[in-house]
Assembly symmetry: C2
Homo-oligomer: 347 residues x 2
Amino acid sequence: MSPDETHASPELPNDEERSARRPTIYDIAQRVGLNPSTVSRALNKPGRTNAATEEKIRAAAAELGYRANPMARALPTGRSGTFAIVLPDITNPVHFELIRGAEQVARAGGFTLVVSETEAAADIERETIEALQSSVDGLLVVASRLDDAALADLARVKPIVAANHSAPSLPSVIPDLAMGLTAAIDHLRDLGHRSVAYLGLGGLQINRSRWELTLDLSMSRDISLVEIAVDSPTVDAGADALRRVRASGVTAVLAYNDLVAHGLLRAARGAGLTLPEAFSVIGFDDIFSAELAVPALTTLHSPLREIGTRAMETLIDPERNRVPSKVVLPLDLVVRESTGRPVGLPQ
Amino acid sequence: MSPDETHASPELPNDEERSARRPTIYDIAQRVGLNPSTVSRALNKPGRTNAATEEKIRAAAAELGYRANPMARALPTGRSGTFAIVLPDITNPVHFELIRGAEQVARAGGFTLVVSETEAAADIERETIEALQSSVDGLLVVASRLDDAALADLARVKPIVAANHSAPSLPSVIPDLAMGLTAAIDHLRDLGHRSVAYLGLGGLQINRSRWELTLDLSMSRDISLVEIAVDSPTVDAGADALRRVRASGVTAVLAYNDLVAHGLLRAARGAGLTLPEAFSVIGFDDIFSAELAVPALTTLHSPLREIGTRAMETLIDPERNRVPSKVVLPLDLVVRESTGRPVGLPQ
DNA sequence: CTGTTAGCGCTTTCAT
DNA sequence: ATGAAAGCGCTAACAG
């Protein structure tokens, strides 16, 4: 028995009043018999006004349900109180936690967050950033397709911080690649692997650094490394790589990310292979589904959430958002079931 | 070249000028010797100005790299060109396709999208909506924790459309529950199941409707149904439910969503059970990892992306964003490997 | 400590 | 077709 909307709103302000117009500082100024500028001061510069009147003003504001209009405030100050996070692909689970981390510190600071997707295209990214610049106080750029120079140029208008990839001219927050990749390669080597493939993503900056580092590490440990290219960081692209992985004869693969690794696992299972006997797989990121995979994915756990929070913290801080810096967060290897000794070696 | 610089006919703005300040309509007005209001008209009201001057103005604007300041525009018009999407939990993969769908139509329309998380708490949701109202042209509310009356009240300030759950007083875009659940129950019944559990999420509106419908459907098909409560729509919560599922003696379970189903699968595997022999599982949503699970998850494929696009389309449309309506999108059963005949029945 | 006075950049009558 | 002028709601000197 749902009580049928007895159409009566006795206490509440009626439609006219509510939807009429949001109260402004003029309304509250008039109500307390003071000047609008005094109201503005009372509400925003604590202490710079008489305690009694401040109290009176706050009371009136509360009573009227006053909320400052962010647009009106942005005009004279140039600050909008909103920040943007621009990333290649919203649906990539890797970005979930990062966005959430950023969103939380933004909200905690009373800021709002705009999310914008660039479809992994450099020109759309540039256009997006330029379009956003007039309405935000700063941008968080994730896995940018733009090079350092371009980003630095853009950053002259509004501060930009790079998250999850490093841009030398900007403040950047990144995972400790050396730490993670060293652990991964050592793990493989300890298991007995001597020939591994890196499943990478073309010329992307973030990918190049992973590849270079992996190469150095492998060579110094007498492991031969081949690069196999996938054309997007997706499950399907990973699945497509199976043939080439098998053809290469490697006993282990390091995937660009967990999505690619997932694809490889799926394709392998589809082909009747059992892992890690056929070959070992190490992912990257440790997205939520990594532990759900069968075999559960051994992967590098990237502190996405913290990358998001740290990046947003530095973006919000006027002292730090303009000076190049580098925050490096730990990248740990999580060993699960997708890695094992290569077949042919004694157990 | 020209020795006489007094005429001040600069070639291109140099770096200083560029990064100094964004050009305004005043800059371009001065440059072409016209009034700012004419510039405004030329740029925004096609046709309401002389074709030649409009051309001249556009050229100057392009040359200066002019971009209208959204804040300044918002003040007199009351329209900011931004919309907000507010949802309980950003990290739930279910919401990502939805966000992306909404983001794409917003961007295509030249609007920007603000994303805000409510931590699945009604009071935070209300506060978030109220805070956002002064700076957006409308809100997309996903899986709201607020009831219809509250939402309707809030919607008097700025249009609100409900996505993925229905609010009778608002325009809503939802999946066809009846269609999906009927297919799910029929599938189970055809397989021979007569006793199933619904793994639901407390008093959440969206959950209640699923439960009611499932109950009706089950009864009319002579299937006994029990409800087992999980306290959050997460993998861990799903895993926690395993004991109760086993204790209930059912041969199949309908999970609130794929995350919960994933948890159940994981726990079952951990307990040494093999599915679907021990029991069948049907998920909800069809998130990307559903097909990656082992056994691959049979689930109801929710058109999240389209829910996002349709919802944003109606939100953008001034004709439709104020009138209650209901857009119902198909919800299809995707049969994979997590459902099978109950043991004891002839193959 | 509070009031006055200008704007911020843009839109929008109302004149011309 | 274009110009002049008055705001939108708020902040920020500068006075008093």
